[in-house]
């Protein structure tokens, strides 16, 4: 039996772990089997995380967060949660390997998953020219012509990064204005290898073995055009990853987990949520980290308020023998 189980290993999960571990709650963090470190593992230079004046590589930042969580006694498990039972005083978390972990509180910080275009041939051509990860796959498009779909920071970052390899990068956006930050926009605008295609929506992806082109429709006048590209990088946003808690936790209309006010408290007592999974708006590494802090403090206050006689004996014993916070 644990005091707290944290699910997710992005900035929210690791920061919650750092705070919970320093509060002597001996957290266990379920990091996932292949996505430990979260979205930042797929990025390159992070320039806006405070404290790193010269910037830091995304993977390096996440490895440091993990090390900091472990330094204070967080146990990290590289497996996936397959089942969550959140009702009642004791929460049960079942992992892919069949292990069941029990805890008095759960912090749910699973982040978000890339949105797909929803096109007919998207699945078939994924990994054969359609990609969601420029840093993983850009290398294979040396001297090629490729397209990036999207209008946010990730689309600008991917397009800019891909010009290291590709000869030409089309940036396709269905509106005529970008959601991306000014700094990222300007970087993309000033890159001679990037050409913007405004008011265009991708409707088809062509190719037998590999992507050979795409079909687009103009959102203003409905004109259909095709474009020969050998790669299509999709950066059209992400959806909160909530499938594990459907039917248990209340969701907002936008799909994020509903929490009470500025807290991390969900509709089930003892269950807290943090990071992109509750945030439809800001979704930054540093806001997720802040949100993880809130969840750890909320969990700590909740645990402190539980009557000792209501706690399982092993948890009381554990709490009594633990050293004070470092």
């Amino acid at each position: 039996m644990r005091q707290v189980i944290i699910i997710g290993s992005g900035p929210a999960g690791y920061t919650a772990a750092i705070y919970a571990a320093r509060a002597s709650l001996s957290p266990v963090l379920i990091a996932s089997s292949v996505e430990a470190g979260g979205e930042l593992m797929k990025t390159t230079e992070v320039e806006n995380y405070p404290g790193f004046a010269e910037g830091i590589q995304g993977p390096e930042l996440m490895i440091a967060m993990q090390a900091q969580a472990e330094r204070f006694g967080t146990e990290i498990i590289l497996d996936d949660v397959v089942k969550l039972e959140l009702e009642g005083d004791i929460k049960r978390v079942t992992l892919g390997n069949g292990d069941v972990h029990e805890a008095l509180t759960v912090i749910f910080a699973t982040g978000s998953a890339y949105r797909k275009l929803g096109l007919e041939d998207e699945e078939r051509l994924s990994g054969h020219g359609i990609s969601w990860c420029a840093t993983c796959d850009g290398f294979f498009f040396r001297q090629k012509t490729i397209a990036v779909v999207g209008g946010g920071d990730s689309a600008m970052e991917e397009a800019t990064f891909l010009t290291r390899f590709a000869d030409k990068v089309y940036l396709i956006h269905r509106k005529d204005t970008l959601r991306a930050s000014k700094a990222m926009q300007e970087r993309a605008f000033s890159n001679p290898k990037i050409e913007f295609l405004w008011n265009k929506e991708v409707k088809h992806v062509y190719g037998d073995e590999l992507v050979t082109g795409i079909g687009m429709v103009d959102t203003q006048d409905g004109t259909e055009t095709t474009l020969d590209v050998s790669g299509l990088f999709v950066a059209i946003g992400a959806d909160p990853r909530t499938h594990l808690v459907h039917g248990q936790l209340d969701l907002n209309p936008d799909g994020t987990i509903a929490v009470e006010g500025r807290s991390s408290r969900t509709n089930i007592v003892g269950v807290f949520a943090a990071g992109d999974v509750i945030d439809p708006t800001y979704r930054q590494a540093v806001t997720a980290a802040g949100s993880g802090t809130v969840a750890a403090l909320d969990a700590e206050h909740y645990l402190a308020a539980l009557p000792k006689e209501a706690l399982p004996k092993e948890v009381v014993a554990q709490a009594d023998t633990q050293p004070a916070a470092v």
């Binding site: 996505e35 593992m41 994924s126 990994g127 990609s131 796959d137 294979f140 498009f141």
Partner: protein, 108 residues
């Protein structure tokens, strides 16, 4: 990194194409985070099914010919070879049960 044996452009024919075994080639690179995440899972699958399938790895940075020949555009990419032919392709870092399901026909 993975304990799987390295194959190269030079050794590919001998080690993979002319082999009598079922061989899975893990196309990877140092800079690929998801490759690092999936490699211990491939090691596990290899050791649990050592009589059924052998797993080797090919660094795409150092071995561009094979990466190009097999039209790699996304890594990790795992290709299963039998008798010199690709009989299965698995793309992306996935949890162990998902990869085992993809490889089911080769593991029984």
């Amino acid at each position: 990194m993975s304990s799987a044996k390295d194959v190269t452009d030079a050794t590919f024919a001998d080690e993979v194409l002319n082999s009598k075994d079922t061989i899975m080639v893990d196309f990877w690179a140092e800079w690929c985070g998801p490759c690092r995440a999936v490699s211990p899972i491939l090691d596990q699958i290899a050791s649990e099914h050592s009589d059924k399938i052998k797993i080797v790895k090919l660094n795409v940075d150092d071995n561009p010919q094979m990466a190009m020949k097999y039209q790699i555009t996304s890594i990790p990419a795992m290709k299963v070879f039998r008798g010199g032919e690709v009989v299965k392709t698995v793309i992306g870092a996935k949890p162990k049960p998902a990869i085992e399901a993809d490889l089911a026909e080769f593991l029984v």
